[in-house]
């Protein structure tokens, strides 16, 4: 399956790229199998994410997932954020090739790790 136009647009024009200097929550995870890396920084006010930024190193799906995820987080409560699934992220990119689904997994795990860093955040991974 070739990459979708939406996917390529995220790659050409990443949303919310960068790093927040005074972040309230952050996480950086590496996929041990392929070395892909995602860094997420969040600013949170009264349980609501007010700013989200990502940095990513790795294959295009990792970059696109970082962009799509950071783009959908702003304005969302931490409880809502914790419920975002891989499937929702994949749908936002109009699909991912099957063998690239690990990129969405890394993005969601990084989000959970960032939220876990805060006491109030639920741990949806159990």
């Amino acid at each position: 399956m070739p990459y979708s136009e939406t996917f390529k647009d995220h790659l050409a024009h990443p949303r919310n790229a960068g790093e927040l200097a005074d972040a309230d929550a952050s996480a950086e995870l590496t996929n041990p199998a392929c070395g892909d890396r995602l860094r997420l920084t969040l600013r949170i006010c009264d349980g609501r994410i007010t700013a989200a930024r990502f940095l990513a190193y790795g294959c295009p799906p990792t970059l696109a997932c970082g962009s799509a995820l950071a783009g959908m987080l702003e304005g969302v409560t931490t409880t809502e954020a914790a419920r975002i699934t891989r499937q929702q992220l994949t749908k936002l990119l109009d699909g991912l090739p099957a063998r690239k689904s690990h990129a969405a997994a890394l993005a969601i795990e990084t989000l959970h790790a960032a939220l876990r860093g805060r006491d109030s955040a639920p741990d949806s991974e159990g």
Binding site: Y3, P14, G35, R39, F54, A56, L63
Partner: protein
């Protein structure tokens, strides 16, 4: 949008003169070259002419060529054919760490079936050392298979020196040792002479020479016996059963003749543009590493690792701006391991993942290169801005600057 094709090591555009030569063999001249009647003989004449043309490109005798489907089949026939026919004399094969997957895969498969394989290192410059070949030789070595020029970094291997070593061994009375070289990337881009190389077998592919995909050849020196890998017909002097694809072979012949005639001009053109390209990239992009020796290599190819970013992201960014290249990143190949060729140079995973191959062709223009030099630095910059590795490195650098 402007389109620039810099992936000529993957395949080349078909030359219109080659299309013109093959067209009659797709239409009215459709005969089977094994048939005795007029149609068959017409095809046979064309096949013979193509055989002479391809033979001339590598200074071989026409009857030393076996036409087949391409480079991969040529490598399969050479390596398995020798290994199986020489099985009573030894089961040891010497190869390099940077062979094309068609050679690597066949050697791996033989290893699983009981053969022993020595894979020679290539050091930082991507070149096999003759001393290592000599040291690896054993009484039961039956085959040395080392490519003439590498497909990812273009480095030219000392095949002529290895050929001389094999001749030396023969003069000492050794009968069962053969030399094969994969010349798929080299042919048409540097002079190839089977006698000067002293090789017994040599693989060629048509579509790297501006002919269509689907034809190739294996040069088999007279007196070398190998076990055929396809049986059931008398074609190609019993060495490759199956009706010859006359149109594709005619195209191969025409392309080989053109490559031979135009080689000095093509090589000069490619080298000038490639060097222009590399000088331009060096001036515009920081934190890059050139892969492979920059002297002993093919004139059309440049392999560069861009630090802090991954190759496929760069490839897609360039593709969106009309520039076609290829990458050694694992993503592209569908495996987890990045290019074994770049890894064999001693580069770390990050550099292997960030490697891009730019391969020029005879039709590449100075305007094409200027366009790539305009687009490439921006694409690298955009990806680096996203990269946590780059952010950390630059933060470190600015701290260092502040401290000084």
């Amino acid at each position: 949008m402007r389109r620039v094709y810099l992936d000529n090591s993957a395949t080349t555009p078909v030359d219109p003169r080659v299309v013109e030569a093959m067209l009659p063999y797709l239409t009215e001249k459709f005969g089977n070259a094994s048939s005795v009647h007029f149609y068959g003989q017409e095809a046979r004449v064309a096949l013979d002419r193509a055989r002479r043309e391809v033979a001339a490109l590598i200074n071989a005798r026409p009857n030393e060529l076996v036409f087949l489907s391409g480079g991969t089949e040529a490598n399969n026939l050479a390596i398995r054919g020798i290994a199986e026919s020489a099985v009573e004399h030894g089961r040891h094969i010497i190869t390099s760490q940077i062979e094309h997957s068609a050679v690597r895969g066949v050697c791996d498969a033989l290893e699983k079936r009981g053969w022993e394989v020595t894979r020679l290192p290539v050091y930082g410059d991507g070149i096999v050392r003759l001393a290592d070949v000599r040291a690896a030789l054993r009484p039961d070595t039956v085959l040395i298979t080392v490519m003439l020029a590498n497909n990812e970094i273009g480095t030219i291997q000392p095949v002529a020196e290895i050929g001389a070593l094999v001749r030396e061994e023969r003069e000492r009375g050794r009968k069962y040792l053969w030399l094969h070289t994969d010349a798929v990337q080299a042919a048409g881009r540097m002079p190839v002479d089977v006698d000067a190389l002293g090789c017994d077998l040599l693989s060629l592919s048509a579509h790297k020479l501006h002919a269509p995909k689907g034809a190739g050849a294996l040069y088999v020196r007279r007196s070398v016996r190998l076990t055929p890998q396809s049986i059931g017909g008398h074609q190609e002097r019993e060495r490759r059963a199956g009706t010859e694809s006359v149109p594709l072979i005619v195209a191969f012949g025409r392309a080989a003749a053109l490559a031979r005639e135009e080689m000095p001009a093509r090589v000069e053109h490619l080298r000038r543009l490639r060097d222009q390209f590399e000088t331009g990239v060096e001036a515009r992009v920081a934190d890059i590493v050139f892969n492979g020796d920059r002297e002993t290599r093919l004139p059309h190819l440049s392999n560069i690792s861009f630090r802090y970013i991954e190759g496929e992201g760069l490839l897609i960014n360039l593709d969106m701006q009309g520039v076609a290249v290829s990458t050694g990143s694992a993503c592209s190949s569908g495996s987890l391991e990045p290019s074994p060729v770049i890894r064999a140079l001693g580069r770390d995973d990050e550099l292997a993942r960030g490697s891009i191959r730019f391969s020029l062709g005879k039709d590449t223009t100075a305007e094409d290169i200027a366009y790539v030099l305009e687009v490439l630095p921006r694409a690298v910059e955009n990806l680096r801005r996203l990269s946590p590795l780059y952010q950390k490195a630059t933060a470190g650098r600015s701290r260092e600057t502040t401290n000084v």
